[in-house]
Amino acid sequence: MSERFLASEQSGLAADSQSERRVILQEYGLICKLRSLWAVIRKEVTIFIRYPSWVVAVVIWPVLFPLVYIFNGKAFAGPDNAGVSTFANLTGTGDYIGFMALGSLLYMWINMVLWSFGNFLRNEQLRGTLESTWLTPMPRIIMLIGAGIGDCLQQCAVFSISLLEFYLILNIRLVGDPLLVLAVILLTIPTIYGVGFLFASLVVWAKEVNVMVFLVRGMVMIFCGISYPLAVLPDWMQSISRFIPMTYAIRAFRNAYLTDGGLGAIKDDLLILAAFGIGLFTIGYFAFIMVEKSVRGKGNLGVY
């Protein structure tokens, strides 16, 4: 490809071959972008596995995190499970361990994406490498997409290991159709990474990761019912939860995994998730483009 390009450059193209030159440039540009994308993914994965603590993130953390909710649930249920009947009435299942573990798994997913996307550009700002990286002739969005794919690979590992650990340690069995579980996960990806794009843009603009993560994950934690049925929330809080996509993702994931209701039980949630996914991904993409232009205009990209 590159030889073709160089040959055409050296020979000098006649006017009638201008269109061919354009095609070559387009192809060349595409390959360059893909190579850049691959380099970013490789960089992210290399950084991730370079620190031994990745074992904690992938193997230990997924089973550890739900435990606090599960033990809380156990304390509320009481030694003779007196409280479980209320829980079963509200949720339709007495399996509060599965309910909480699956809810917290999705919470962990968005939490990790928020941290990794927030810190992706922010850390480069802190280390002073953001400006120099952005001076390379690579579209900035490629970096973000690369980070997203790198993160997706990590999350695949986290998800698989979590579900295996849930099965082995917490005895949580897959009751529903695995394909439906996969469908829920795939439809949740655009939503979560759309939020991630939006988030990365906000962090570059606001220069603050912690507060933004606390705010977004706090909303998910309170309004989306990761560890309790939404029916216990006051009406005004339930109204807010309807506008947060994670509410639908968590409910669909639980239903697909813990019940055998089939597609009919989660169809509406999947449609809403798809709509949120398209909307949030588009907003996230354009927010990043806008913020990139804005910080370049102001010249405060390297400032933290």
């Binding site: 995190f65 802190l126 934690m221």
Partner: protein, 278 residues
């Protein structure tokens, strides 16, 4: 000797001032340190409602001796905020200095490294105390709490050795962060494990036997338990005076151990030449 002490105090005051300035420079961050514990508390509050029978948490009462899980959790939230501040405020701040590339230059100043940590710790205690007061007020307004304030003096006397020992542990943890260099997961998981195993959010009697053994071997568990016993009248794991004695012994051990580990690992990292890496 007097001059040495005077210089150390001046250095600590300088570090205190630096941390205070950085803290004020990010006002939203400061505000969220008060709001975040409430955000963590809310899901457990609603979970409690999801298990209540006729509005009463009979299951919780059977485990603890009190159905007032809000006050139980509030005490845990406030005490665990000191544990979290050790992990995030001391452990993670070293990582931040490594990332921004100022750790080596700070440590090249003729101040003992341990003085840097003590200065950071003093600031940390003060800010966490202010935060805790804020959290307490918010929780009282939104959720309602009910403490037996006649035992507040004894509770404070129980909390003091507990806090000193936590900060002693923080010295050792800071050194570990310096060695591992990737602090986020280490801090997050460490904080979570300690708070979970010591029963910050629930009675440790819900643990299966093998976790119960670990939990009961951690002196912090007795700290939470004793303070709750004093202020809420919950059933304690051991007689109160025994729990308080454990805390005093733990305080002495952790301060000596923490300082020793920090000095030893700091020397080791200097030999490795990794202090400026991240």
């Amino acid at each position: 000797m007097f001059d040495f002490l005077r210089h150390q105090l001046r250095a600590m005051a300088g570090i205190f001032k630096r941390d205070f300035k950085i803290f004020l420079r990010y006002p939203l961050n400061a505000l969220f340190r008060i709001i975040e514990p409430v955000l963590w508390f809310a899901p457990v509050f609603f979970m409690g409602k999801g298990f209540a029978v006729d509005g009463q948490n009979v299951g919780f009462q059977a485990y603890t001796g009190t159905g007032d899980f809000v006050s139980f959790l509030l005490l845990g939230t406030i005490l665990s905020s000191y544990v979290s501040s050790v992990f995030w405020g001391i452990g993670f701040s070293l990582k931040n200095q490594m990332t921004t590339g100022v750790l080596e230059s700070n440590w090249l100043t003729p101040i003992p490294r341990i003085t840097h940590l003590v200065g950071q710790t003093l600031f940390n205690v003060l800010i966490t105390t202010f935060n805790s007061i804020g959290v307490f007020v918010i929780m009282m307004v939104f959720f309602g709490v009910n403490f037996d304030l006649t035992s507040i003096g004894a509770a404070i006397l129980t909390i003091v050795p507990m806090l000193i020992s936590i900060y002693g542990f923080g010295f050792a943890f800071a050194a570990l962060v310096m060695l591992m260099r990737e602090a986020n997961t280490l801090v997050d998981a460490g904080n979570f494990i300690v708070n979970t195993l010591t029963g910050a959010n629930f009675p440790v009697t819900v643990f299966p036997r093998f976790l119960m053994v670990i939990s009961l071997s951690l002196p912090l568990t007795y700290g939470y338990d004793a303070v709750r016993g004093l202020l809420l009248g919950t059933r304690t794991l051991l007689p109160l005076h025994q729990e308080q004695l454990i805390l005093v012994i733990f305080m002495v051990v952790m301060v000596v151990f923490g300082a020793w580990v920090f000095i030893w690992l700091e020397r080791y990292c200097r030999r490795l030449g990794t202090t400026g890496m991240h």
